[in-house]
């Protein structure tokens, strides 16, 4: 084998994936994320650094169009892989390094997306005239709720105007989380919040714990492949440790996106961690056949309500703060009561 081919194989052994998940394909998304963590691959923060676009679940037309646009932005060598069933994750993804080493797919000849239009000049907080940009956030952002797109008008780094849109929810009848253990959902929410907060260690630990709880709920007692078997209490104990450490984030989360009755982002994070710590006992061996539904005490805020509140909450926020706020609301666009929401709020002199 010639040197170049070996070098390519070495280079692409652990590719970086851009993940676009249908909101209905939570179980596939979890499988892909678990595979990526187990193999030491990485998820790209955008199209620029991605070796492959991975789509999770069958994509409805609106998301398929977005996938095509994303694919056109990938730099060669690149691939596009569709995973529709959790069981085929490993099989579909395992062949990726070899395909990339052989040069990847031919880049489809699609026109690049248009430059986002300028919104013209607006006054910023200090009365200075500033360019305003229309920027869509999502649906393929890291740590972002699948199927959500938030259109924001950005003045510098401050959001002046926002409206939310849901994608891939036509004809959806129920959520994955309706029947999944509450602890798994809570940890999945923590994964996103810690990820957005740039707390890499806590983010990764939550991924591990989430996958462990999920594996146990599914009766897969082997849990971690090749790892030590998690026996009772160790997930719970580690979540408790994380909960103590979570106060590191208090300065960023205290007072952020407060919702009457549910508290601010810091309160919501505490609630998730408490649910995850308790969820351990619910998912303990013996009760695994009947995964407990989300406890009613867990959240008094539905995703529909959160989505309604969202544009108003993020208006006036710095972009990063808004990202934290979105992650702190744990929005699941397939949850009951969400139709084609198009909430719009913000000032009108834009």
């Amino acid at each position: 084998m010639d040197v170049m081919a070996r070098l390519r194989r070495f280079a692409f052994a652990r590719p970086s994936l851009l993940l676009l998940s249908a909101p209905t394909a939570t179980v596939v998304r979890l499988a892909v994320e678990r595979f990526v963590r187990g193999e030491g691959w990485s998820l790209a923060s955008g199209a620029a650094d991605a070796d492959a676009l991975v789509t999770a679940g069958p994509l409805p037309p609106d998301l398929a169009a977005i996938a095509d646009t994303l694919e056109a932005q990938l730099a060669p060598p690149c691939e596009r892989i569709s995973v529709t069933e959790p069981d085929e994750t490993s099989e579909r993804l395992s062949e990726l390094p070899e395909r990339l080493a052989r040069g990847g797919a031919r880049v489809p000849d699609r026109p690049l997306p248009e430059e986002p239009p300028m919104a013209g000049m607006v006054e910023d907080r200090d009365g200075l005239m500033l360019d305003a940009l229309h920027v869509p956030l999502g649906p393929a952002l890291p740590f972002w709720p699948p199927g959500l797109r938030l259109h924001v008008q950005l003045r510098g780094d401050v959001i002046g105007h926002a409206h939310a849109e849901t994608l891939g929810v036509d004809g959806v009848t129920g959520s994955f989380w309706d029947t999944a253990p509450a602890g798994v959902r809570a940890l999945d929410a923590c994964v996103r919040l810690f990820g957005v907060a740039g707390w890499h260690a806590a983010h990764t630990r939550c991924l591990v714990l989430r996958d462990r709880l999920l594996a146990r709920a599914g009766g897969d007692h082997q849990g971690e492949r090749g790892g030590r078997r998690a026996d009772g209490g160790d997930v719970r104990a580690e979540v408790r440790r994380l909960a103590r450490k979570a106060r590191f984030l208090d300065p960023e989360l205290r007072g952020l996106a407060p919702v009457p009755g549910v508290g601010d982002a810091a309160d919501r994070l505490r609630t998730w961690l408490a649910v995850a710590a308790g969820g351990e006992s619910e998912a303990a061996p013996g009760s695994v056949e009947t995964p407990s539904p989300i406890s009613p005490a867990r959240r008094t805020l539905t995703s529909a309500q959160a989505l309604d509140l969202l544009p108003e909450l993020v208006t006036g926020m710095e972009l990063g703060t808004a990202r934290l706020a979105v992650a702190s609301l744990d929005i699941d666009v397939t949850e009951a009561g969400i139709g084609a929401v198009a909430a719009t709020v913000g000032d009108t002199h834009g």
């Binding site: 052994a13 060598p77 890291p142 780094d157 740039g198 300065p251 960023e252 972009l319």
Partner: protein, 308 residues
Amino acid sequence: MVEVAPWWWAMLLPVALGALVLGMVSGEAAVDARTAGRRVTTGELTRPVRGAARLLMRQRRLPLRADAVLWRIGSAAGVVAAVLAAAVVPFGGYVVWDSAVGIVWFNAMGALMWALAWLAGWGANSAHALVGGYRFLAQALAYELPLMFALTAPALGAASLRMGDVVAAQQDVWFVVWMPLAFAVYLLGVLGISFWGPLAPPAGSDIASGIAAEQSGMDRLALLAGRGMLLVTGAAFAVPLFLGGGGGPVLPGWLWSLLKTVAVLAVLVWLSVGLPRVAVPRLLRVGWVMVLPAVLAQLLVVGVVVAW
């Protein structure tokens, strides 16, 4: 004492910095693998090398209507700034460039990042990269003045801006012993220059990697290498500045320099791995209300000790 090194040391400088960066990110990769529940194998330790090879094999992509020249200067020149800064860092008994104003030179190279990070953020013509550029400038407002005063403390203690004199002045007592605050503030500044760990908001995960959002292939490699080399150079500079340079018993000077540099790097990596990102407004508050007065008080103490 510190002498001028043979000319070929200058050639070795980028290689040595690159090797230190690879060593550091391999350490990070090992920690990350353990956190993610994987065994630490050779495959994990070679992850950074693999990543670099991968970026070299990938085509570069220019964002729509980017200002290619300014964008690439901003992305790639961090490597140059780091190497130039490293030229005045004594290693063991030798230094590549024995400048009479070594401390000022180092600071000037760090200050170059104001321009470079902004160009990299602005030139990409992308909202996330632009916000990253804004953030770097705001963050630099928080760390730059404290960093400059922290650098002043050893200069005041040694009554010289020449690194050789600074090392010589620490023959009996290391500066870190009576300038601990200046040392801590200096480390904070180094994290700021390379926007690393808790001071990574300009390349934050909340803005899709910010300044690095649009970089691909070699451009991305250059930007990441520049950041890593600035961090490593900062750690290496802390050794002659606060930790007695190559001084130490038994072992040769170069080995002491290396060991101390690795120790400082380990502290920086430990901080980066264990802490969440600090939002820029908070950093500005802490920087101006707490850190700046504290480092000024430190300077006062140093001044009184020197005068006495």
